[in-house]
C-alpha cells in the first residue's frame, strides 16, 4: 500500500489522497462527541447535583433554571442529572450488546470462511433464516412475557435480556462480513506466499488472514453500538427491557409525552442525546472506513 521511503525523505504532499483527510475530519468530530459522553458518564456525580432518583416534590415540572439546567420532571427529579446518569446505562448495555455479537459473529464468520463446504453452507443457511425473521418483534414478545428478570454480575435487571437479544440479532452481520473478507484475503498472494514459506496453518490464519479481514467489522462495530443505543431506548420507550423509572433516555421520553405541550424539553433533550451519540459513533465508523479504503 505505501511505497518505501528512504530515510529523511518526505512524502510529497500532492501524493496524499484527498479521502484520507476527509476521513480524519469525521474521526476527530466523532471521537470528540463520543469522548465527551464517556467523560460525562465517568464524572457524572461531579457535573450533576444529587442522585437521579432524588425528588423535589415542591418543584415538579419546573422550567429550566439555575438550579435545574433542564428543569424537573413530573416527580420533581432533575432532568439533567437523569440525562447524564442515563449515559452509563445506555452506553454500557450498547457496548456489551455489540461487543459480544462482534466477537461471536466474527469467530463464526472466520470458521465459515476457512471451513469446509458443508460447515460453511450450514452457517450461511442459518444466518439466512435469522435475517428473515422479525427478531425485534420476537424480542418484544419474549421479553414482554418473561419480564426484565434479575440482575446478573454487574448488570442491573433488564440489561441481560437486551444483551442476549442483540447478540442473537447482530452476530449475523459480523459472520457474513468476516466470511466474505476471509475468503477474499485467503486467496491473496501474500497468504499463499506465507503458506508456501512453511508457516503453520494457525500462524497464517492469526498473522495474515484475520488482521487483514477484520477491518470492515471494526467499522461496523462502531455503527452497531450507535444502533444499539437507539434500539435500547426504543424498546424501553415501548416498555420492554430497562425497567420503567430507571434513568434511561427512552423511558424519559415516554414519561414526558403527556407534558409535550408545556415541557417539550423533557422530550427534546433525551432524544437529542440518543441522536448525538449515535451520530458520533457513526462518524467514527465512517471515518475509519474512509481510512481503510484510502
Amino acid at each position: 500500500m505505501t511505497a518505501t521511503l528512504k530515510a529523511g525523505e518526505e512524502v510529497p504532499r500532492t501524493r496524499q489522497p484527498r479521502r484520507r483527510r476527509r476521513g480524519d475530519g469525521k474521526l476527530a468530530v466523532g471521537a470528540v462527541i463520543v469522548g465527551l459522553f464517556v467523560l460525562a458518564a465517568i464524572f457524572a456525580p461531579l457535573i450533576t447535583s444529587g442522585h437521579p432518583a432524588d425528588q423535589d416534590l415542591l418543584n415538579r415540572l419546573a422550567p429550566p433554571s439555575q438550579a435545574h439546567i433542564l428543569g424537573t420532571d413530573q416527580l420533581g427529579r432533575d432532568e439533567w442529572t437523569r440525562l447524564v446518569h442515563a449515559i452509563r446505562i445506555d452506553l454500557r448495555v450498547a457496548a456489551l450488546g455489540s461487543l459480544i455479537p462482534a466477537i461471536l459473529g466474527s469467530l463464526i464468520g472466520i470458521v465459515a470462511g476457512l471451513g469446509n463446504h458443508w460447515l460453511d453452507a450450514a452457517i450461511m443457511r442459518t444466518s439466512d433464516i435469522v435475517v428473515s425473521l422479525p427478531l425485534f418483534v420476537f424480542f418484544i414478545a419474549l421479553v414482554g412475557l418473561l419480564g426484565p428478570g434479575t440482575g446478573f454480575l454487574f448488570l442491573d435487571p433488564g440489561e441481560l435480556p437486551l444483551i442476549i437479544g442483540f447478540t442473537v440479532i447482530s452476530w449475523v452481520v459480523y459472520a457474513r462480513l468476516l466470511r466474505s473478507e476471509v475468503r477474499r484475503v485467503r486467496s491473496m498472494d501474500y497468504v499463499r506466499a506465507a503458506r508456501l514459506g512453511g508457516l503453520p496453518r494457525w500462524r497464517v490464519i492469526t498473522w495474515h488472514i484475520v488482521p487483514n479481514a477484520i477491518g470492515q467489522s471494526i467499522v461496523y462495530f462502531f455503527v452497531d453500538v450507535g444502533l444499539a443505543v437507539v434500539a435500547i431506548s426504543t424498546l424501553s420507550f415501548l416498555g420492554v427491557g430497562i425497567p420503567i423509572g430507571t434513568p434511561e433516555w427512552g423511558s424519559m421520553i415516554q414519561a414526558g409525552r403527556n407534558v409535550i405541550q408545556t415541557n417539550w424539553w423533557l422530550i427534546a433533550a433525551p432524544g437529542a442525546a440518543i441522536a448525538l451519540i449515535g451520530m458520533g459513533l457513526a462518524l467514527i465508523g465512517d471515518g475509519l472506513d474512509d481510512r481503510i479504503k484510502s
Binding site: 476527509r22 433464516i129 435475517v131 428473515s132 425473521l133 422479525p134 427478531l135 425485534f136 418483534v137 420476537f138 418484544i140 414478545a141 419474549l142 421479553v143 414482554g144 412475557l145 418473561l146 419480564g147 450507535g226 444502533l227 443505543v229 437507539v230 431506548s233 426504543t234 420507550f237 415501548l238 416498555g239 420492554v240 427512552g250 421520553i253 409525552r257 409535550i260 405541550q261 417539550w264 422530550i267 427534546a268 433525551p270 432524544g271 440518543i274 441522536a275 449515535g278 451520530m279 459513533l281 457513526a282 465512517d286
Partner: protein, 324 residues
Amino acid sequence: MFGTVKGREGRFVVAMRVLLGRLFQLILVLLAVTLVVFVLTQIAPGDAARLRLGPRASPEAVSELRHQLGLDRGLPRQYLAYIIRVLHGDFGTSIDGQHVSSIIGQRIGDTLWLLLGTLMFAVPAALILAWTAAWFRDRTVDHAIRLGVLLAMFLPAFWVGFLLIRLVAMPTGWFPVADLGSGPGDLIRSLVLPSVTGAILLTAILVRSLRSSLIDVLDSEYIAVARSLGVGGSTLIVRHVLRNAVGPVLTLLALNVGYLFFGVVILEATFNIPGLGSALVEASAKRDVYTVQGITLLFAAGVVLANILGETVVSMLDPRTVST
C-alpha cells in the same frame, strides 16, 4: 448465483419454478416460526389457566381449564394441536375472552395503512436521493447525501414523531395526532406524520444500498451502448436505468420487512394508533400469551411471504437472478 436460463423457458415458467421452490422453503420457515412462538408459551412465567381465572379460582377449576386448553398433555402433542388449530385459523382466545383472530381482524387495517403510507414516502424519496448521489458520485452532493443518510439512521423514530407532533401538528392543527381518521380525507391527514416519521428511517436504509446498485447500472455496458446509440435524457433513465433498479429496490425492501414491521410497532405506540403493533405491546405487558403468539406469528408469516413475493417478482423482471 447467476445461473443460466435453460432452453427457451419463458419468464413465467422461471418465475413459477422459483415460486414452487420458495413455497417449500416457506413451509419450513413457518414451521420453525411456529416452534419459536410455541416455545414462547412454554417459557412464559405463570400458568395460562391460572392467569385467566385469577388468583382466587379453586384448584379444581384451574385443572379443569388446563384440561380444556390441553395444557395437561405432553409437549409434542400440544405443539401438534397448536399447529392444527392455527391451520384452522384458530389462534385461541385472549385474556379478556376475545378471539385472537377477531382482535387481529380489527387491528390489521391500521397497520396496513401505516405500512403503505411509509412506503409511499420512503420509496420515491430513496430513489431520488440514491439517484442524485449516484449521478454526482464522489462529488460534494454525493458526500452530503451519504453523510445525511448515515446520520438519519440514528434518529430515534419515536422522538422524531414527538417532535413532528409538537412542532407541526400542535401549532397548525392540520394533523390529528391519535387514531387514524375514518373518512378518506381524515385518513390521509392522520397518516401523513406517521408515514413521514417511518419513511425517514426506511429511506436511510434504502439509499445506502441503492446508491451502489444504481452506480453499477450506470457503469454497465448496456447503458454505454444505449448512450452511444443516442438514447439520452428521460428515455435513458426510465427505460434503461430505472427498470434495472427496480430489482434491487424490491430485494432491499423484502430484506428489510422485519425491520419495517418493528418500525410500524414504534409508529403505532408514538401516534396512539390501535394497530397490531400496539396490540402486541399491550398484550405482552398483560402477559396475554395467546394474543402475543397470534400477532407474532402473523408478523413472521408476513416477513416470509414478503421475501418470497419479492424474489418471485424480481425473477420475473430479470431471469438472470434465478439461483440454481
